[in-house]
Structure formats: structure tokens, C-alpha cells
């Protein structure tokens, strides 16, 4: 019998959330102010949770490692946010959003959570508009929508290419209102380094003031971890430089199970690596695949000629190009889901068809779209005799209106004009579907400790659909936690303030100081980045887009070795009692070095292909689906929740069996 209880409410899926809200405990307003809540992270999930909890009357303390809550990495999300509003009258509904999300996640998400997400999605848009978030509008003054990959309706709300920024600034403004009232106490430039568990309950955290280096104790009746994803375990990703797993990993080591760590989203359209000095990768929005055609040359001679500059890509005729997505997936073509598009690019590059110096790039070509739009524009403009050049000019104008900011960004980075020559793109780590295991109430396996947003594992299964991350972050923070936490906190009204001088706080602080002292005293020869890059290489080569038993076993051995060397040979200049960026990085990389091993172990254990997790041993043999990912519902229809036992290699697996009562299990086909 599993120790995991997902606490999914009884009743039909449509009524679960409503019934649950009606049946759970609430805390009376006078008592709320006697209850402290700590929120770690101020992105969409943490920021919205902190603001909502403070509005309700709880005394909130919010923490972020950046210099302001507005800098959390949710700010960088480009495309949009999904909501089942059906403003376009195209048949969208809560059920359809629920269905698309479960299917898009390759049937590895929890039905009840996903349904609730779809259910509250419409409220998010209402809430954000009321806060003054300037979403894109039509000329009639109503909200505009666009469509995204993997779905058949237009349900994505957006603010040009800066939707994440606008939503985060909305949550930030809601926080500011509460900070101004003294209901949220904000701790900028603070990093959580441990959770304190007293009598089996989360009762506070140990944090380091990043300016002074002082170690602080903060107590509360409940702790929310909203610290984002762990894509930076790969070193290179589209995450911000500071994005890290530390808060999540620390609660894991204190008893919170870590679920599906191997589920990683590798986004197909990012700007390729240009050299060893590369510090991060930049995403080019998925929306580009609406008009861009992806290809590599058919012949190796042309690949070589393009790489050495003797031939330009535009010189290749149609017959000399391999539009491999259109060839392999005629039904969906360039608009297959992210995991499928990424693997196909890797397949071509591994076969030697990569088009840049590193051999890791494919073309994303807008020439056909420019021609098509140019001809349309010429017709509309009554220019039947428009010259070839005029058509290109008109077409480029249309493309500029749709994707201008992305084209400009590309040109600034690569120094090539994407209107004239195809973009070069390659997949990059973008999002992690795995994370801290939570029940229906978003509580972890530590009572009183919650996880929200990308930090938890719950809603996206093995693959997240575009424009669903923003939706989940805000759903968790605005509309789920404020209710579910009340149920737990109702029992805390007589507890009184939590003292910080208990033996548990003493021990936690001592442990944190111990780690810092050890790190500072290694006084080795290599920088933190050196180890982080080594780890990233192993993760990318052995546990990246395609995984197999041999590589994963090798990865585990290599990571253990890097970890050992890290603790023997890392060099951190400066002192621990001052602002020390290298120490900050070292603490985070130490945790990545443990998580990386659990990641590989999880990938090894899951001997099936599902969503972003592709095992080379598990592919379809014969028939139309030949060579495609093969999911194994008989043996792997569960959530892997790992329990810390003192060493990542010895983590204990618990399984939460997934039940699909409202959606029929099917093979995803994009042929």
C-alpha cells in the first residue's frame, strides 16, 4: 500500500472542486492575522499566493533571491496564457481545455488537478484584467486571442511577446499593495537554505541575507515553496541564470517527495549555442512555427558547403531541401508538439545534417510565408503586376507585424537578418514538468509545507502545452492555495507564534552554517561554473532528448564523480559574511549535483517513452507509427515519487497510480 494519499475529493469530476471548497475548514478573519505564512519565490505562483493570502488577512513573509520580486523568471514568458473563455465561439469549454492538457501531457497528469486548473482558468483572466493587465485587444475593445500548438481552438490570451511580464507585474502590483499595508513583509536578496520541521510540521525556514551573508531564522505556521523549475541542472537552458532547485531540494531532503524528476521539456525553437563561453540559451516563441518551415539540406555535400560558407542556404533549390517535419508528420507538419519537433531536429543533426559549425542547428525558414503573404497583400493593394521584389517587400512587412520583436532579438544575438536568410534554431531545455509531489491541496508530504507553480509536479504530466505554465502558476496562487491552506491552518488558530529558539531551529541553522563553512574551506582550484558545466554536459549528452539504459547508468556514475570532485576542489573566493555571488552559485550547484543523479535514476527506472521523456528502448515497431515514442500504460501509468534516504542514489520510489475515469487513454498520433 502506497504511503501517498492524493486526497482527491469524491464525486464527479465537475463537482469535485466546488464540493471540496464547500466542505473544507475556513479560518475566521480575526484569527487569520494571528497566523504567519512564509512564501518562497515571487514569480506568478509565489507572487499571486503571497498577495492573495495577505488580502485574506494572513501575516505573510515573502522571500526572493533577486533584488525585487518583479524579477522572478516568470517575467520572461513570451507567448500567452490559456483560459477556457470561449470568447471566439469556437467550441472551447472547461472540458476541452482539460482534455487537451491531459492528452498533451501524454496521460501522465492527475485528472482531478487538471480539471480544476481548467475550471479556474477563466477567473484568472477576469482577475488580471481587473488588476490592469494590458492584454491585447481587438478594435471593438474586447480581448483578442490566438492559437497555440497541440490544440484546435483559440484560447490563448496575450500581451504581444511579453505576456509573462505583464502577468507578473500584475501579481507584483497586488503584492505591492499588501507590502504598502504591512500585510506582506518582503525579504529581497534572501535565499532560503532550509526548511525547519517541528513536531512533523513545517514551521519556518533558514534564509541567508545575500547582502550581509547573515543566516536568519523565520518562523511561520505554514510554508509555501514557489521557487520554479530546475532546468538549470543542464547548465544551459532558457531559464534565468539564478533559477535553481535549492528551495525544492532542501524540502525534499526534509521529507517532501520529489516526483517525476526526469520529465523535462526541451523546446524546439531556441537560438543555437555559439561557443564555449555561452551562458544561457534564448527562446524563439513557438508562434514562429505557424509561418516558419523547418528544414536541413538533403545532401551531405550541401551541409558541408553551408558550414564552410561556400554556399548560402537560400541557394539551395526546393528539391535539395529536406522539410523533415512535413515529410514525417504530414498531418501536423511544422506544428507538431514540442517534444516531437525537438526529437526530430536531434535525429537530423545526429545523422550529420546540422547546418552550423557545431553541427547542432536546423533552419527555420520564412521565405515561403513571405511569398504567400506578399502575394495576398499585392491582391489586397490592387497591384496585380507587382514585381518579385515588391512581393517580398510586402510579405516581409506582414511578417514584421507578426513577429517583429522576435526577428529583432534574433538579429541582435546572431548578427544575421532573418528576413533574408533562414533562422538557425536548435532545441534547448525550457521547463521541468517534474517537481515536488503534492496532493490535491498542493500540500507536500511534509504537513504544512506546500508547493506551487513549476516547483510542483502536478498538472502537465510528461509534457506541457504552450501557454499553460502561466495559467498553472496563477491558478495555484490566486485560486487554489488561498482555499486549501485554510483547511490546514484552521487547526492552527490556537498555536500562537512559532518560537525560533527551539532545538529544531538550532539544528537547522547549524546544518546550514556547516554546509557554508565546508564549501568556503575547500579552497580548491576550480570555479563553481567549471563543475556546473561538467554536470550540464553529462545531463545533456546522457539524459537529454533521448535516453537509454547504458547512457543513464553512465550518467549516474559520472555525476557522482563530479559531485565528489566538487566537494574536494571547488574554489570560492571572498568571505561568507558578505555579498558573495560565487558562494550563492556553489550552494545551488551542490544541490543540482544531487538532483542530477535522482533525475537520471528516475529516467532509468521509467523504461517507457512518454511526452518529453524518450527512451530509445521504447519505440513503436512496424506500422504507421514506426520509430515513434511508445508509452507503456500497463507498467508505467503512475507518478514516480522519490523519498530521500540520505543519498540520491538510494532514494526510495513510491508510486501514485493514475486513474483515468473521464478521459480514455489513447496513443498520441501526429502522422
Amino acid at each position: 500500500m502506497s504511503v501517498l494519499d492524493a486526497k482527491i475529493p469524491e464525486g464527479p469530476i465537475k463537482e469535485k472542486w466546488t464540493n471540496h471548497k464547500n466542505n473544507i475548514n475556513v479560518v475566521n478573519p480575526a484569527n487569520k492575522r494571528l497566523i504567519d505564512v512564509i512564501v518562497v519565490g515571487t514569480g506568478l505562483a509565489g507572487g499571486s499566493a503571497a498577495a492573495s493570502l495577505a488580502e485574506m488577512g494572513y501575516a505573510v513573509k515573502a522571500f526572493c533571491f533577486q533584488d525585487s520580486p518583479r524579477r522572478a523568471h516568470s517575467i520572461a514568458a513570451q507567448g500567452g496564457i490559456n483560459a477556457a473563455k470561449n470568447y471566439q465561439n469556437d467550441g472551447d469549454s472547461v472540458y476541452r481545455l482539460f482534455y487537451d492538457t491531459v492528452k498533451g501531457g501524454d496521460y501522465r497528469g492527475r485528472e482531478a488537478n487538471v480539471y480544476r486548473l481548467a475550471e479556474v482558468s477563466a477567473n484568472i483572466i477576469d482577475q488580471c484584467v481587473a488588476q490592469g493587465v494590458p492584454f491585447a485587444r481587438e478594435y471593438g475593445g474586447l480581448l483578442d486571442n490566438r492559437s497555440f500548438g497541440g490544440v484546435l481552438v483559440s484560447r490563448t490570451f496575450y500581451a504581444k511577446g511579453q505576456t509573462g511580464q505583464q502577468l507578473l507585474l500584475g501579481a507584483y502590483s497586488a503584492m505591492n499593495r499588501q507590502i504598502g499595508k504591512g500585510k506582506i513583509k518582503m525579504y529581497n536578496r534572501h535565499e532560503m537554505l532550509d526548511v525547519v520541521v517541528v513536531g512533523g510540521k513545517a514551521r519556518g525556514i533558514i534564509a541567508r541575507n545575500l547582502i550581509t551573508g547573515s543566516i536568519e531564522r523565520h518562523s511561520a505556521h505554514a510554508v509555501v515553496i514557489a521557487s520554479g523549475g530546475y532546468g538549470n541542472v543542464f547548465f544551459l537552458s532558457t531559464n534565468a541564470m539564478g533559477s535553481n532547485v535549492t528551495a525544492a531540494w532542501k524540502i525534499h531532503k526534509k521529507g517532501a517527495f520529489f516526483a517525476n524528476p526526469c520529465y523535462t521539456q526541451i523546446h524546439p525553437t531556441c537560438i543555437p549555442r555559439s561557443g564555449d563561453y555561452q551562458s544561457k540559451l534564448t527562446l524563439m516563441s513557438e508562434s514562429l512555427r505557424n509561418d516558419g518551415r523547418i528544414w536541413v539540406p538533403k545532401n551531405k555535400e550541401d551541409v558541408e558547403a553551408i558550414r564552410n560558407g561556400s554556399k548560402k542556404p537560400v541557394e539551395l533549390s526546393e528539391e535539395e531541401r529536406d522539410y523533415y517535419l512535413e515529410r514525417r508528420y504530414p498531418a501536423f507538419g511544422n506544428l507538431v508538439p514540442r517534444d516531437v519537433a525537438s526529437r526530430a531536429a536531434k535525429e537530423r543533426c545526429d545523422a550529420g545534417y546540422g547546418v552550423n559549425q557545431t553541427g547542432e542547428a536546423v533552419f527555420l525558414d520564412f521565405a515561403s510565408a513571405i511569398q504567400r503573404y506578399g502575394k495576398e497583400a499585392a491582391t489586397v493593394n490592387h497591384e496585380p503586376d507587382a514585381s518579385k521584389e515588391r512581393i517580398i517587400e510586402l510579405g516581409a512587412e506582414v511578417i514584421k507585424n507578426k513577429y517583429g520583436n522576435l526577428f529583432q532579438m534574433y538579429e541582435k544575438i546572431v548578427d544575421q537578418n532573418p528576413y533574408k536568410t533562414p533562422m538557425m534554431i536548435y532545441p534547448a531545455v525550457h521547463y521541468t514538468m517534474g517537481g515536488i509531489w503534492v496532493d490535491y491541496n498542493l500540500m507536500t508530504t511534509i504537513p504544512g509545507c506546500y508547493a506551487a507553480g513549476e516547483a510542483n509536479f502536478s498538472d502537465h504530466g510528461a509534457n506541457r502545452l504552450g501557454a499553460s505554465a502561466l495559467m498553472q502558476g496563477l491558478a495555484d496562487g490566486y485560486f487554489v492555495l488561498p482555499y486549501t491552506m485554510g483547511d490546514y491552518l484552521a487547526d492552527e488558530i490556537r498555536t500562537g507564534p512559532i518560537p525560533t529558539d527551539s532545538p529544531e531551529f538550532d539544528q537547522a541553522e547549524k546544518d546550514v552554517r556547516g554546509i557554508i563553512d565546508t564549501l568556503m574551506n575547500v579552497k580548491g582550484t576550480k570555479s563553481v561554473d567549471h563543475f556546473h558545466k561538467e554536470l550540464g554536459m553529462v545531463m545533456w549528452n546522457n539524459a537529454g532528448m533521448a535516453r537509454n539504459e547504458t547512457d543513464l547508468k553512465a550518467a549516474i556514475a559520472k555525476i557522482r564523480k563530479i559531485r565528489e570532485e566538487f566537494w574536494k576542489d571547488v574554489r570560492i573566493p571572498g568571505e561568507a559574511t558578505e555579498l558573495n555571488s560565487e558562494l550563492e552559485k556553489a550552494i545551488r550547484v551542490a544541490d543540482f549535483l544531487e538532483l542530477g543523479e535522482l533525475f537520471a535514476k528516475d529516467a532509468l527506472e521509467r523504461n517507457e517513452s512518454c511526452g518529453g521523456h524518450f527512451r530509445e528502448e521504447s519505440v513503436e515497431i512496424g506500422g504507421e507509427q514506426e520509430g515513434e515514442a511508445k508509452r507503456d500504460d500497463v507498467n508505467f501509468k503512475y507518478v514516480s515519487a522519490w523519498e530521500w534516504t540520505g543519498d540520491p542514489g538510494e532514494a526510495k520510489l513510491h508510486k501514485e497510480e493514475l486513474e483515468f475515469k473521464d478521459i480514455e487513454l489513447k496513443t498520441r498520433s501526429y502522422k
Partner: protein, 255 residues
């Protein structure tokens, strides 16, 4: 795609902490590719310093794609360096030539005290937002339907343009008065253009301007350097809009 690299001299502001005195220190650096971003060049320098047993240069940075607003730096006397419409993290080394000397300093303003090396304290910006940079609406599952408030597209677009401010502080660093008017006006303008924001418009502008003055930012003398250096192209028109709002509010607000 030339593979030639550059040798440069970096003159960088080093300051141990808020209380210590700072100074410019010279660092030679070689093998810099034009494809590197400015901050990747700084990474190379820091790796070099760590290997030599020295303390690396501290600077703020996070997203490295021009949206979080963490990175700052005054490069050769310009906020975010010589390119236009980019933050320091989007600035590329191809903007420089082999043999160049590059001065790298923190953003300078009384309201942005230096914390260490190139890192400054910009929490004064947050405190201005606490004073009124919001619409007072509680989270509620019963908020009126989003489409019940139609907003003319032109207004919505203008509000969006103002809202794209990333709060980096380049406007303050570029202004001879260290004024925060562009930053404050971007938020005031965003909300004054939207019907949701009109209810509290008067209190908002008065409170935010009061806090801005308290923080020690200077006043605006319409030089326009802020608009030139702003990586997001926030328009000076926002300042005019804020002045208009401020005047209206100070005359008509009930005591």
C-alpha cells in the same frame, strides 16, 4: 562570421561594500569573440580572476534576455552601453573593436547606493510602487467578466507600451538630475489610460510622486536622455501624461 577575437582593456569600478570607498581597477582581457554578449565577456573575466585567486567582479544579472531588468552597468558613460534598445545582457561584443578600453561603472544616483562593485540598491523603485503602483482589487473568483469592460485598442496599446518598463533604472542613471520621472510615469500612465485605474488615479499619482521625492530622486528638466537610453523605448510622453494627472489631482483632490 569571422572568428577573429579582440584584446581589450577593462576599467572596472571595484568597491568592497556600501561603506568602503571604491576605485577603478584595470584588467586586460584577450580572446573575446564578437558573438559573446557583454555579460559573457564579464563571465570570462570572472573565471580568469577566480583562477588567479582574486575576487570576481560582482554584478546583477538574471534572465540574460532583456526582460527581468536585473542587469545594469554604465558602459563607457552610457547606461546599458553603446547599442540602442537593448539591455547590457543583450549588448554584444561586436559593438567594440580590438584594442578598445571599456569603462564599466555602476548606475550612479543618490537613490541607488552601491552595495558592492557594480551592484546597486534599487529598492527605492519598489517603495515607489508600494505607494500606489496598483489597482486596489482583491483576488476573487467573482470578479466581473473580463470582456465587460471594453477598452479602445489605441488606449490598450498605449497602456501596454508604458507597462513594458522593466524597472532597470537606466533612466535614472542617464539623467543629469537622477530623476525617476520616466519610471514613475510609465506606471501612472498605464493605469490612467485604463478605466480600471481611473478610480484611484488621483491618490495614485500624488502618493507615488511624494514617495519618489522622499527617496531622493531629482526632478525632470525635459532633457530626454532617459528616453534615449531606455532599453524598452518608454516614451517621454508618459512624463507629460503624469504631469497632467498630477496637476489635475493636486487641484481637485479632496482633503
Amino acid at each position: 562570421m569571422s572568428e577573429t577575437t579582440m584584446n581589450l582593456t577593462l576599467k572596472i569600478w571595484r568597491q568592497k561594500d556600501a561603506k568602503s570607498k571604491g576605485k577603478i581597477v584595470s584588467y586586460p582581457i584577450s580572446g573575446i569573440s564578437g558573438h559573446m554578449s557583454f555579460l559573457e565577456m564579464m563571465d570570462v573575466l570572472n573565471e580568469q580572476l577566480i583562477n588567479e585567486g582574486q575576487e570576481p567582479v560582482a554584478f546583477d544579472h538574471d534572465c540574460r534576455e532583456g526582460i527581468c531588468g536585473s542587469c545594469s552597468l554604465h558602459i563607457n558613460g552610457e547606461a546599458h552601453g553603446p547599442d540602442r534598445g537593448v539591455t547590457t545582457c543583450q549588448l554584444h561584443m561586436r559593438m567594440f573593436k580590438d584594442g578598445d578600453t571599456i569603462f564599466i561603472e555602476p548606475f550612479r544616483a543618490k537613490a541607488f547606493p552601491v552595495i558592492k562593485d557594480l551592484i546597486v540598491d534599487r529598492t527605492s523603485f519598489d517603495r515607489i510602487q508600494h505607494a500606489g503602483g496598483f489597482i486596489s482589487v482583491n483576488t476573487s473568483g467573482n470578479t466581473q467578466d473580463a470582456n465587460s469592460i471594453p477598452i479602445p485598442k489605441a488606449d490598450a496599446d498605449k497602456a501596454f507600451d508604458a507597462a513594458t518598463c522593466i524597472g532597470c533604472g537606466a533612466c535614472v542613471a542617464s539623467c543629469k538630475n537622477a530623476s525617476a520621472m520616466l519610471y514613475v510615469s510609465a506606471k501612472v500612465a498605464q493605469f490612467s489610460l485604463l478605466p480600471q485605474g481611473k478610480v484611484e488615479a488621483k491618490d495614485r499619482v500624488l502618493n507615488m510622486v511624494e514617495q519618489m521625492d522622499k527617496e531622493g530622486f531629482g526632478n525632470c528638466t525635459n532633457t530626454g536622455a532617459c528616453e534615449v537610453e531606455c532599453p524598452k523605448g518608454i516614451s517621454l510622453e508618459n512624463i507629460a501624461r503624469m504631469n497632467n494627472e498630477y496637476l489635475k489631482a493636486s487641484i481637485t483632490r479632496e482633503a
